[in-house]
């Protein structure tokens, strides 16, 4: 047992010595103004940064940041599931911008401790998107421009809303964001509000995003229109046809019977950023073609 205790002592010494080196690195840093090396952890935030003319200050983003094309050339520090924190540290950014997420809180704390400030924005509402514009604009010294862009965004969305308000019908819509495992958008989401703004009614009454939505329930809800949002990178005529054909067995659904199944680009319709007005004016055009006839 004497030898045993010696071994234990040895191991404890290594452990304690290692632990002693492991103290906190620094306190909570203040936001630098203006940031010059920005890491974006969200495709929406990346688009906002470019829109604000800060694209050249973005030093890294995620594998999903595909717009504008320049964003794809940036160093990648994460994908949907994981962020490589170590890589962020190596890049020595002076600001990391993330979207609000419980899962990321601990990571923000560690980055702060390493002396890297992190800001997060809840971009699940359009108000949150506007807030992100203004806050980023403030920090980067382009607040004026940010406010102009927000006003323009608001104006364009209001124009869609006003035009669609005059529509004679309010078709019932089901908006799918995933295929072939159907995930449908429910109440209380920002897409739900955009559906309303586009002069439609969300046929789904449950709140939140409904995963693995059963097809037989779609038949029961009898939507007038079915919309599928598909990742921009996957959007091909062949894939669109495949999705349309998958509904052939549900002929009793009005949307299927009338051939009103629309396949849209998910990047512009479900990503809460500047291009949301492009995506949704397209949707408005698809669901209310009569309102756009005179153009």
């Amino acid at each position: 047992m004497r030898y045993l205790s010696r071994v234990v002592q040895f191991c404890l010494c290594i452990g304690l010595a290692a632990l002693a080196c492991c103290g906190p690195a620094s306190g909570n840093p203040a936001l630098p103004a203006p940031p010059k090396k920005i890491v974006s952890l969200s495709p929406a935030v990346t688009e906002i940064l470019y829109e604000l003319g800060l694209g050249d200050r973005v030093i890294a983003d995620t594998a999903f940041c595909n717009y504008p094309a320049d964003a794809m050339n940036k160093e990648k520090v994460g994908d949907f599931f994981t962020v490589n924190e170590e890589k962020i540290i190596w890049l020595e950014p002076d600001l990391v911008i993330d979207t609000t997420s419980m899962a990321h809180k601990a990571m923000w704390r560690r980055l702060n401790r390493a002396g890297i400030p992190v800001v997060d924005f809840d971009v699940n509402t359009m108000e949150g998107v506007y807030g992100a514009y203004v806050e980023i604009g403030k920090a980067a010294g382009v607040e004026e421009k940010a406010r102009e862009l927000v006003d323009s965004l608001k104006g364009q969305l209001a124009a869609i809303r006003d035009r669609c308000a005059s529509a004679a019908t309010r078709p019932r819509v089901m908006f799918f964001v995933e295929y072939p495992n159907l995930t449908v958008v429910g109440k209380g989401t920002f897409i739900d509000r955009l559906i309303t703004d586009a002069g439609c009614e969300n046929a789904v009454t449950q709140a939140g995003w409904q995963q693995n939505f059963p097809k037989e329930l779609v038949a029961e809800m009898k939507p007038d229109i079915i919309i599928h949002a598909v990742d921009g990178s996957m959007l091909t005529a062949r894939y669109a046809k495949e999705i349309r054909d998958s509904w052939a067995d549900a002929a009793n659904v009005p949307a299927v019977a009338e051939g009103r199944i629309f396949i849209v680009n998910g990047d512009t319709t479900t990503r809460p950023g500047p291009r949301i007005v492009i995506g949704w004016s397209e949707i408005a055009r698809l669901v209310h073609p009569e309102l756009y006839e005179q153009e």
Binding site: Y3, L4, V7, V8, F10, C11, L12, I14, G15, A18, L19, C21, C22, G23, A25, K76, V77, G78, D79, F80, F81, T82, N84, E85, E86, K87, I89, W90, E92, S101, M102, A103, A106, R110, R113, A114, G115, T183, G208, W209, Q211, N212
Partner: protein, 345 residues
């Protein structure tokens, strides 16, 4: 195999401990980017210090601790269950831990004990709960039957898998992200631990391993069969229960921090049995250090191979590294040696 004497014991343990210490030192420098050990002595940049202290060091320490715990538990299970396929997860402990972790996230619970996260706390409770269930179900007239233990463990694992899939199918996708790493089994989670928590885990693992070592002699008799052990004066029932509880605690600690990591607990005891012989007095410490070294190396490979080769920025699940190193070796072992040679006396 030469008879065990104190000299051989000391040399074995000392050599392995030194090997571990050296590997732990160098493993710190490996990651998404390689830091030159020379910089460590010359002075490091701010980024290098942060990465080493905040990201690599906790991983290195936790990898060694978890590897040691799993391998010791594997050796104990293989011994007292007299089954060469036994690993720390055979009694449903990992399944129970996973149910706990997924439940914590699904229920949105927020419980922090000693600074350990909700997932860790619930996973630990789940692990111990699983053991309690297994023991309760495998009792026949007051005594725990070995074959029943294994059967109950396998069936409970199946039930746990079903429960996990059920909870995950009703859980919003976004919330699943927060335990995705954990479910795959990853040392990545170690960076969420602060020094005091690593300390607590270390104390539990060291004390648990020492208590198991104190029972090594009884385990040797168990290997001859339960009847023989009883005749030789081992209080079979009590010893085995003590072993089960200790291993459940050690496995629970390991699983709750890193998620289920396979192969360490199965392979390392077999390798060590070949190297140092089946005597548990030396097999347990050898497995302790061997497991630590094995997982340390596996994690260093897992976290650096993709970034360093420029293939991808993500790290491999450590299970890939342990299975790819351990799997072929195990198959070779099966072919090269008869079961008797690996396992018997």
């Amino acid at each position: 195999m030469k008879a065990l004497n104190s000299r051989r014991w000391i040399i074995t343990v000392a050599v392995m401990a030194i090997a571990l210490a050296v590997l732990m030192f160098f493993a710190q420098f490996v990651g998404a980017k390689y830091v030159s050990p020379a910089n460590f002595f010359r002075g490091m940049t701010h980024a290098e210090t942060v990465v080493l202290v905040q990201y690599h060091l906790p991983r290195v320490l936790v990898a060694a601790l978890v590897g040691a715990a799993l391998a010791v538990c594997g050796a104990v299970f293989q011994g007292i269950l007299r089954n060469p396929l036994a690993d720390p997860f055979i009694l449903g402990i990992s399944g129970g831990g996973t149910v706990g972790a997924v439940f914590a996230v699904a229920a949105g619970a927020e419980v922090v004990v000693f600074g350990f996260s909700t997932v860790t706390v619930f996973a630990f409770i789940g692990s111990l709960g699983a053991l309690a269930l297994v023991v309760a179900f495998s009792k026949i007239r007051g005594t725990v039957a070995t074959h029943n233990l294994i059967l109950a463990g396998v069936v409970l694992n199946a039930i746990f898998s079903a429960a996990i899939l059920f909870m995950m199918s009703i859980m919003p996708f976004v919330e699943m992200r927060s335990i995705y790493q954990w479910l795959m089994g990853s040392l990545y989670n170690a960076i969420a631990l602060e020094p005091p928590q690593i300390g607590v885990a270390a104390v539990i693992v060291f004390v648990g391993a020492l208590l198991l070592l104190a029972m090594a002699k009884s385990m040797n008799l168990f290997a001859l069969g339960e009847e023989t052990a009883r005749q030789m004066g081992v209080r079979a029932e009590r010893t085995r229960l003590a072993c089960l509880i200790l291993t459940a605690i050690l496995t629970g600690v390991a699983v709750s921090i890193t998620g289920p990591i396979g192969f360490v607990g199965l392979i390392v005891p077999h390798i060590m049995r070949l190297l140092v012989g089946p005597d548990h007095r030396i097999l347990l410490p050898a497995s302790f250090f061997g497991g630590a070294i094995f997982l340390l190396v596996a994690d260093s490979v897992a976290r650096s191979v993709l970034p360093l080769t420029g293939l991808s920025l993500s790290e491999l699940p450590v299970g890939v590294a342990t299975a790819l190193c351990g799997g072929p070796f195990f198959l070779w072992l099966l072919r090269a040696r008869s079961r008797r040679a690996i396992f018997g006396k």
